[in-house]
Assembly symmetry: D3
Homo-oligomer: 284 residues x 6
Amino acid sequence: MNRLKVEEALKHFLIEDIGDRDVSSVIFRETDIGEAIVRFKEDGVIAGLHCFKWGYGLLDEGVKVELLKSDGDYVKSGEAIVRLTGPVASLLSGERVLLNLVQRMSAIATLTAQCVETLGSSRTRIVDTRKTTPGLRMFEKYAVRAGGGFNHRIGLYDAVMLKDNHIAAAGSITKAVDRVRASLGHMVMIEVEVETEQQLQEAIAAQPHVIMFDNQTPETMTRWVKLVPSSIRTEASGGIDLNKLAAYRNTGVDVISIGALTHSVSNIDISMNLSVSSKEAVFV
Amino acid sequence: MNRLKVEEALKHFLIEDIGDRDVSSVIFRETDIGEAIVRFKEDGVIAGLHCFKWGYGLLDEGVKVELLKSDGDYVKSGEAIVRLTGPVASLLSGERVLLNLVQRMSAIATLTAQCVETLGSSRTRIVDTRKTTPGLRMFEKYAVRAGGGFNHRIGLYDAVMLKDNHIAAAGSITKAVDRVRASLGHMVMIEVEVETEQQLQEAIAAQPHVIMFDNQTPETMTRWVKLVPSSIRTEASGGIDLNKLAAYRNTGVDVISIGALTHSVSNIDISMNLSVSSKEAVFV
Amino acid sequence: MNRLKVEEALKHFLIEDIGDRDVSSVIFRETDIGEAIVRFKEDGVIAGLHCFKWGYGLLDEGVKVELLKSDGDYVKSGEAIVRLTGPVASLLSGERVLLNLVQRMSAIATLTAQCVETLGSSRTRIVDTRKTTPGLRMFEKYAVRAGGGFNHRIGLYDAVMLKDNHIAAAGSITKAVDRVRASLGHMVMIEVEVETEQQLQEAIAAQPHVIMFDNQTPETMTRWVKLVPSSIRTEASGGIDLNKLAAYRNTGVDVISIGALTHSVSNIDISMNLSVSSKEAVFV
Amino acid sequence: MNRLKVEEALKHFLIEDIGDRDVSSVIFRETDIGEAIVRFKEDGVIAGLHCFKWGYGLLDEGVKVELLKSDGDYVKSGEAIVRLTGPVASLLSGERVLLNLVQRMSAIATLTAQCVETLGSSRTRIVDTRKTTPGLRMFEKYAVRAGGGFNHRIGLYDAVMLKDNHIAAAGSITKAVDRVRASLGHMVMIEVEVETEQQLQEAIAAQPHVIMFDNQTPETMTRWVKLVPSSIRTEASGGIDLNKLAAYRNTGVDVISIGALTHSVSNIDISMNLSVSSKEAVFV
Amino acid sequence: MNRLKVEEALKHFLIEDIGDRDVSSVIFRETDIGEAIVRFKEDGVIAGLHCFKWGYGLLDEGVKVELLKSDGDYVKSGEAIVRLTGPVASLLSGERVLLNLVQRMSAIATLTAQCVETLGSSRTRIVDTRKTTPGLRMFEKYAVRAGGGFNHRIGLYDAVMLKDNHIAAAGSITKAVDRVRASLGHMVMIEVEVETEQQLQEAIAAQPHVIMFDNQTPETMTRWVKLVPSSIRTEASGGIDLNKLAAYRNTGVDVISIGALTHSVSNIDISMNLSVSSKEAVFV
Amino acid sequence: MNRLKVEEALKHFLIEDIGDRDVSSVIFRETDIGEAIVRFKEDGVIAGLHCFKWGYGLLDEGVKVELLKSDGDYVKSGEAIVRLTGPVASLLSGERVLLNLVQRMSAIATLTAQCVETLGSSRTRIVDTRKTTPGLRMFEKYAVRAGGGFNHRIGLYDAVMLKDNHIAAAGSITKAVDRVRASLGHMVMIEVEVETEQQLQEAIAAQPHVIMFDNQTPETMTRWVKLVPSSIRTEASGGIDLNKLAAYRNTGVDVISIGALTHSVSNIDISMNLSVSSKEAVFV
């Protein structure tokens, strides 16, 4: 991730929660120093560890951050992932925001890893979609990578996806691909979505970079894959989640895109335990 | 929601997805006009409808937005919630971002409504927490309200929550509350978290505005509620989700706070169906 | 104050004054090093000292800032509050902006301290209002605290104030309070403004957290305070300034809110005296 | 004022006060329409009227704003300056911020007008300084103009002011002016500050555009003015306020700069009276 | 171009030039209305016409903008491209910024069109590079398209370019491509730069999407093109400008990338002629 | 240049190019350290060296930047200007943006230096105009200074330029200057543009600070200069470029303004050569 963009985002998130000040911190003195251990409370794959380093760096350069794991590591419940030392007031002011972010990123990485594991030795890859949380795309696509998945296009700007409306407006798949190829540079990937075998045949003839099989059974996909020449990548899409994934393992598609990776995850439970070194609090 | 802040956020979200331009839209002419109907694909409670109005307003003033429901409405699968008419290119450029946002908001509203329904005639309220998605707190807290829930504090700045670390630093609950009261103005709510009956007794004596029972059984909570004078509000907290909620229905606490409302929801499925009025596409 | 927000503001303020560059600094060489002493030119209470540290930190990490006082200290005319050493060009480029800010903050702290002193041993507290300078609320509310005062609500978002228009729209104080309580969460303070004894009685019955006596004589306030049960806080408001304050000392109200603390202060005179170490200037 | 900059500032100020939402507005329905009259509560000169138009325009395009005066007008206590009609919730959400701003601007315009009046038929002009409130320079310098005053340099970037430190670093006034002239373009005004007659003589010989007499008696200034050739403008400066101003009326200086115009004003009292058209409030 | 991003940029550019206000506009009254005609002063291809519409829209909604040409049109010296009517002060305040922008965009479009024309009937395309003016990439890449060229990758984020350093770090072209393919999703284009025929052979075997021939003679390129299978696109690069271009016309490469399109253009001369309707100016 | 503004701009430029991440950098390990030498590939005057220091400082504090020249130095083709050491991935991520910026700045400095040289021993100065690239004015005006030129006004806000439209609106040059002088403060420079000798005579009588001779022959200018009293500066303007400049060398005008300095330069060729210390790349 581009650190400049990460820091802009973290600054925004920290200000969202802290506002003008953390009123509860009036309890603490500047000399109240603490050590905090951040631990997984359930098994999962960690993603976003550097957010602790960069987030606390923005908040208070006096907080020392030691990362105990690497992104993509499988962490058991109870294991520590970060050790923090520094002013208690700062440790607590950043706690919730950074946990909220890393819990979500780790949930995405964990679900991705489960999907990857389900595919086993298959050469098919798991990819994400544009169904990300507004404002968090960079973080969520990173988490997919940390979990062993791959990224689909970043946004509307870096690749073409021709869906039914585009095809209807152009008149046919052939016309749509031709027009896109005529308008856009040689560095833009072109993907066509097909829903019937007739569309598939037309798409193959149009030679896009990728053909997406939308909402088909594993059987159909298996059959369709064989029709597509090796110079075109194939993508399975449409409501596939962890439960349905195994059925698609042997279809032979190049990638399976899963919106649920980013739009429907339950946060991984992560907690921070703090011990304070000095006890005689005074008003700040 | 403050429209000025909503628009700042929507602008940021739309730029995140569209970037310099929607390359697929080269298919369309400026005169390609379409009508799009946004529908729920599953039952749920809608929240965030105005985001369609404001979001498309930012993108293209030529898009007409007609809201067919109101936030908080229970919508059946298949029902339409918004009708849009305008340039096809603009309708498609805004589609994914606004669906991502409203799907998440509606998921939160729906889960909140289920929690509220579970409580039945109880006077206990459902409230949210600070476990919101970074950057989306305003939207997510709004969605909780749309679902019939209430908001806990907004952030670290508008209310005090005294947890174990604060109490340890101050020396005791009494000292902690006294110090906070001595430091902060009369408009700041003070809440104390208790984990044992001894702490509860000390908290009652300190007279904060709210006492939170952290991670207690329904039986304990029921007993503790009776010990607290009516001038102090009581809150049940700690890993309570929709499944466990029924057990807490009759504890008599004033509010039950549920982090899962915002940190662990699966997006409500919402889709946009578009029909294009003009067919002869040319390059733009 | 949240340092992240303070630094955003200071950056904005410094750019406002310096623009593309300080043209007068062409006189100095990079090696012209100076020492500057910042002194109070009149007696007062200091607030905002850290702005020197953070502001010069943004401008030039080569400037060393030594704070000689603490916020809230009473400073005599002529006393030094800060010692700065570093490149002369940087010292001068930041001088005016930081003085403008700290002079205003210290003026607010000083006036607040005078108000607090006027109240003497009374348990009544001095609080601010929302009549702050646009863009400076965080700084000005901090200055009130540095002067020994307390903060009222931060903005429109963190507490309810029911005034005549709200009450008229709802139909009565009772209805207004009931509706607010029905709509808003348990962490939102509710204050009601009353102008007659009849309103006071109705307000007491409605049990808001705070009742504000608007524009009443000290005598009326004294009488009214006795009618209000101890579970409700009382606030005196309406054109009370330092001159009129003594008359309200013994009314028994919990807080007296004073708009003049932030909307009508004369800056404390503070100046920076600079001595340059190297004399042979060249063009930069 | 540059409307683009004004609107950026107003958006920032409105978000500072309203935050995520105005919680008190839950009392009102969207259909509660009101009329508000903004009135001066004391005599003064109005400045900043367009802020009502632009500010409410940002908040709610449904608010109609009618300006009843022009900036620079002398307004008697009780006179109306603006009539607003629109949703009550929006009228109240913008009220405090816009009053805070216009009260300050009008205070500055009023004090400026008093200074101008004090000078009577003198050709000497009143000018401001850089002692403005951080973040508000554009607004405050506009207010000075509305009150009949003129602006000094905008910031450090648009004109040179050579003070003791610059002169010391350069070695002499002559050297300082020469160096500045050698370094900077022909569109940069050069002003030199003098404290003794010897410095004055040296300054005159160096031929800057403006010479500032710092902290001199009216008698000295009168004498010095006569020594300065007509091609150089003269400025009186140094702790001159409304009280001391009359003494400087006949010194013959071109301008008198007064820091107090912007750093030490008491807000003009302005209030908004609102009448609501519909009474049956419901929850929003 | 994404209008939301264009408007953000235009706002920034207009504020850069206008600052707090256009001081020269004190000459004009609000009722001074004018008509301005924007004309090409030399032959060229126009790009960026909508910037007049959007830019003046931001500055003053009272300015009416009529576009007389379309982007990509070839315009003869003396021809009008835009007619503006509205307040003279606003017309003049926006003039320079918008001309600066459109002059540069039109220069880029014109040079691109010259390059395209030079290639004649060749199927080779002209593409841009990342050698754009900082802050203007979106505008400059749009101008290339308006001139008949195509865009290379947008930035470092949407496609891979493997140069000598990448290859050295990986050990070989084969290893570099393999690693990239193993790390990145299926939507990322991979391009390899080659400087020798041996590298070319290795690159062909590695099957990237594009191979770039860096700094080769037309003869070498012609020979190399024949070695590359049709599934891989070829790009000529390295110091090719309008003068050298003809020599590359028949090499058979798919695209020729030309940095000079954006890094070394002389602005097209465009001027605005204004006629004012009302003559009796007063001070504003 | 104001470092705070420079860093804001550099952050914006770097994010424009890098986006969410530099995908090609997956080739490198964090431990791949490199040394890069930045060299001029043609002769020229360097401007903007500190951008390397500040830009890499923003991107990665682990990059060490050693500046080998000073801004304004004449650099021969092949000479090194900067030595960088640090993580290869960071060196490459910042390379293009910083080269794009410094190449343009150096091109401006070089052209300026050529103009200055052309004037030889003449006391006439070269100045820039407002024909700068949108968003880069601060950088481009700095580059003009680095090349030995001087700056004209910064923008519309810091000086008055009375052109035909202003004069027409006011009625005459005399009226225009009088009105401006009556409206604006004593620190605002006033310049009048004249196109005929009659206008010149009128302008001289009006006594502005500067008179601009617009589009006149060298002979006319030479004659006109003699008519202007020494208290008024003279400026030659109108399509003067490096080729035509020599003819104006002896006209005696104070400054010659040249739009081409900033609107029509060809980037100086600068390249970065990188050598990597560690070779065994792994995936990041």
